[in-house]
Symmetry: D2
Subunit: 228 residues, 4 copies
C-alpha cells in the first residue's frame, strides 16, 4: 500500500454500544472538562452509536469500581475513558497504562498512594485497545488538535485506564477501550498562562475518536512517537 | 476605595464609532485568527457600537497605510488593532509599542528590516491609550483567558501598533486605541503542540474589551506586571 | 519510620562493577550530551566503583547489540544507560520501558519503525530496577535538578532501556539497571530557546545516581508521580 | 558589506572602567544568580577591563539610588546591570526599558507599585545603549546560550534599567549601558521544572558581553526580533 490510510472502514453493528466516562472535578477545580465534554457529546452522539455515559469519582479504587459498575450496567462494545490533563494543548490518546499509583497530590478522598500497584500482581503495563493513530487522525480531520501520548501519568486517570485494560484482559476479551486526556476549558484558566480548548471542540474531537475506534479495523501506519 | 473596581462605567455616546482591524495570514498560514475573529465580532457587535472593520496587509509600511486609510474612512472614537501571537494561551492586551522594526521572518512582501525605526525621529515607545487592566478583567469576566502583555514584538504587529499610537499622538489627540494579540485557532495547530482558542471565544473576548475600553474612565488598580 | 529516608545504606561489595553507557549524536547534532557526561564521569568515577563505559549507536537493533556486547565484556552489577532528552530541564530517571518502537525521526541508519515491538512477544513494559526516588534525591542533594520521568519515549532510548530490562528479566536476574535522560548541553542551544545543563553538572548528577543505586536497599517513599 | 560582521573591533582605551551590578535575592530565593555570576566575573575580569561591581537592593527607588551611588563612586565608561529572569533558558540582552512600575509580587521592602512611572514625566521608554546583536553573538561564540529580549518586565529589573538609561540621557551622555537577564542557577531549581545555567557559564557569557560592548563600534545587522 503506497500511502498510509486506514483499512476500509466497514459499518459497525448498528447501533454500537459505547460507554464514555468523565471525571468529577479535582485539585480545587470547580469543573472537570472531561465531564463537561462527555455531557456535550451525549447531547449529540455520533451516528450509529448507542451512547452511555458515567461520571467517575476522582478517588483511587472507587474510580475503578465506578467504571466496573457502569460497564456491568451497559455492556458496551467500546469504552472510552476521558480525563483532564491541565497544561496539554490538545486531545491526547493514551498509548499505555502502567501498573503504578504515585500521587503528586491527594485524590478527592485524601488518599495519596506512593509507588503502589493498581492491581497487585498485574503486568507492568497494558496497551490501549484502540487504533491510536486513526483516532488521532480523525480528531485532526474534524479540526481538533490531537496527538498520541506516551504516558497517562500515575494518578487516578492512569489508575482507571489500567483498571479498564485489566478488566478487558482478564474478564471481557471482546471489549475494546482506551483513554483520552483533554485540556483545560477556558473558564478554568482565565487568569492563568495555560492552554485550553472549548467544550464544543473537545466534544467534537471525542465524537470523531469514538467513530474512528468503531470503524477502523487496521490502524494507520503513521508515527505518533516521541524521541523521549 | 477598599477593593479594586473600575470607576463607574457611564453610557458611551451612542453609538460609539469603533474600528477593529485584523491581519491577513502570514508565515505560511492559510488563515489569520485576528481577521477570523474580527469578522465574527462584526456579525454580532457589542451593544451601542457602530463597528467598522479592516483587514490589514502583513507588510511593513503598507500595513500602516492600510490602517490610516481605514481611520480616515471611518473617523472612529476607538481603534483596536488585533494580530496573531502564535504560541500565546489567551488574549493579550499590549501595553507598549516600540519604535523598532526587527523582523525574524520576511513580511508578505519579502521585506525583513533589521533594527530600523518605525517612524524616523519618533519617540522610543508609546503606551496604549486603553484601560489595560479593565480590558483584561472584562475579557476574563466573559470567560476568556486574558492578560496584559509587556511586548508586542518587533514585527508588523508592533509596527502597526506604533503607527496607530503615533497617529494619535501627532494628528488625532481625541482618538484612543491599542493592540490585542490573539492565539492560534485550533485549525492552525491540529498537529502541533501549541495552544489555541476558538474563533468564538476570541470574538467574545474582543467584544468585552471594546466595551470596557469605551466605558471605563479610570483604569483598575490591579497588577498586570511581569517580573521580567 | 516517621519521615521518609532511605534505608540504611550499606557499603557495596568493593568495588562494584558499573557499566554506564551514552549515545552517539543523532538528529543532526554534533555531540550527544549523554556521551560527553559519561566520559566526564569516567574521569572521576564515584568512590568504590569500578566503572566501565560504552558509546551506543543511535540505531534500532544495533544499539541493543552494542549494549549486550558491553554487558558481556564487563559483567557489571549495575547498568545505567544515559540518553539525550532535548527540551527537558534536568536529569530524569526513567520509570518504565515500553515494548514499542515508534520513531518520529529516522535513526542514524535511516530506519524509522512505526508501532513495532522492541522484542516480539515481550511484555508491554518493564519497570526500572533502580531505586528511582533515592536516585532523584541524591542528584538533588548534589545540587543537580532531577525528577522521575514516566516515559522514555518510543525512540532508540526507550528501545535500549527495554532491551536492558528484557536482558535482566530473561538472562541476568542479578543485574540491576535503568535509564537516565539528560538535557542538552549549552553548546547545542546557543541560539535556541531550549534549556540546557553543563556537562560537569550532568556528570555530578550521574555520579550521585550511581552511588544511590548501589547503596540503597529500600527506596524512599516520596512521590515522583504525575497527574497526567 | 556582503556578510554581517561587527565593525573592526579596536582596542578599548586601556583599561576601560566597567561597572557590573547584580541584585540581592528576592521572591523567597536564598541566592540571586545575577550576583553570584557578577562575583564570579570579578574573580576573572575580561582582559583590559578595570571592573567594579555592586549588589543592588531589590527595592523600588532604593535600587536606583544604589546604582547611582555606584556610578558616582566608580565613574565607569560602561555599566552592565544584571538581574534574574527565572524561567528563561539563556542570557538575554534587553532592548528597551519602559517607564512603568507594575509589580506582580512585593519587592524586598514590601512595596508593590501598580502602573506608576519610574520617573515622573520621563519618556515612555529608552533603548539600551549597547550593541545588542554583537553582545548576543559574543556570548554565543563563547558557547553560552543568549538572545535579545524585547521586554525586561515591569519589576525592579526594568526599574533599574530605566533608571540607568535616564541617568545616561539626562546627566551622563558619555556613559553607555544596558541590562542582561540571566536564568536560575541549578541549585534554585533542583526540584522544579525550570531551566537553569551554571554560574560559570553565566559569568563566561557576561565576560563576552562586556568585551563586545567595549569593542564594537557598529552593531551587527542580524535579526534579534520577535514576531510578537
Amino acid at each position: 500500500m503506497p500511502s498510509p490510510s486506514p483499512s476500509s472502514p466497514s459499518s459497525p453493528p448498528s447501533p454500537a454500544k459505547v460507554l464514555v466516562t468523565g471525571f468529577e472535578p479535582f485539585d480545587g477545580e470547580t469543573v472537570n472538562p472531561s465531564w463537561l465534554a462527555v455531557r456535550s457529546l451525549a447531547e449529540a452522539p455520533p451516528a450509529g452509536v448507542d451512547l452511555a455515559t458515567a461520571e467517575l469519582s476522582c478517588v483511587f479504587g472507587t474510580a475503578i469500581e465506578d467504571l466496573r459498575a457502569a460497564v456491568e450496567a451497559t455492556s458496551p462494545d467500546l469504552v472510552l475513558c476521558v480525563g483532564q490533563a491541565g497544561g496539554r494543548h490538545g486531545l491526547t490518546v493514551e498509548r499505555v497504562a502502567v501498573n503504578v499509583d504515585d500521587a503528586r497530590i491527594p485524590d478527592n478522598a485524601g488518599r495519596q498512594p506512593v509507588d503502589e500497584p493498581v492491581v497487585e500482581g498485574g503486568p507492568a503495563a497494558y496497551f490501549a485497545s484502540l487504533p491510536l493513530k486513526a483516532c488521532v487522525a480523525a480528531a485532526r480531520e474534524a479540526g481538533v488538535p490531537a496527538a498520541v501520548s506516551q504516558t497517562a501519568g500515575t494518578f487516578v486517570c492512569n489508575h482507571v485506564f489500567y483498571g479498564l485494560a485489566h478488566l478487558i484482559a482478564t474478564e471481557r476479551p471482546a471489549l475494546r477501550g482506551g483513554f483520552v486526556h483533554v485540556p483545560y476549558v477556558p473558564e478554568q484558566v482565565v487568569d492563568r498562562a495555560a492552554p485550553s480548548m472549548s467544550v464544543r471542540d473537545i466534544a467534537t474531537g471525542l465524537s470523531a475518536i469514538v467513530t474512528a475506534a468503531l470503524t477502523t479495523t487496521t490502524d494507520l501506519r503513521v508515527t505518533g512517537g516521541a524521541t523521549h
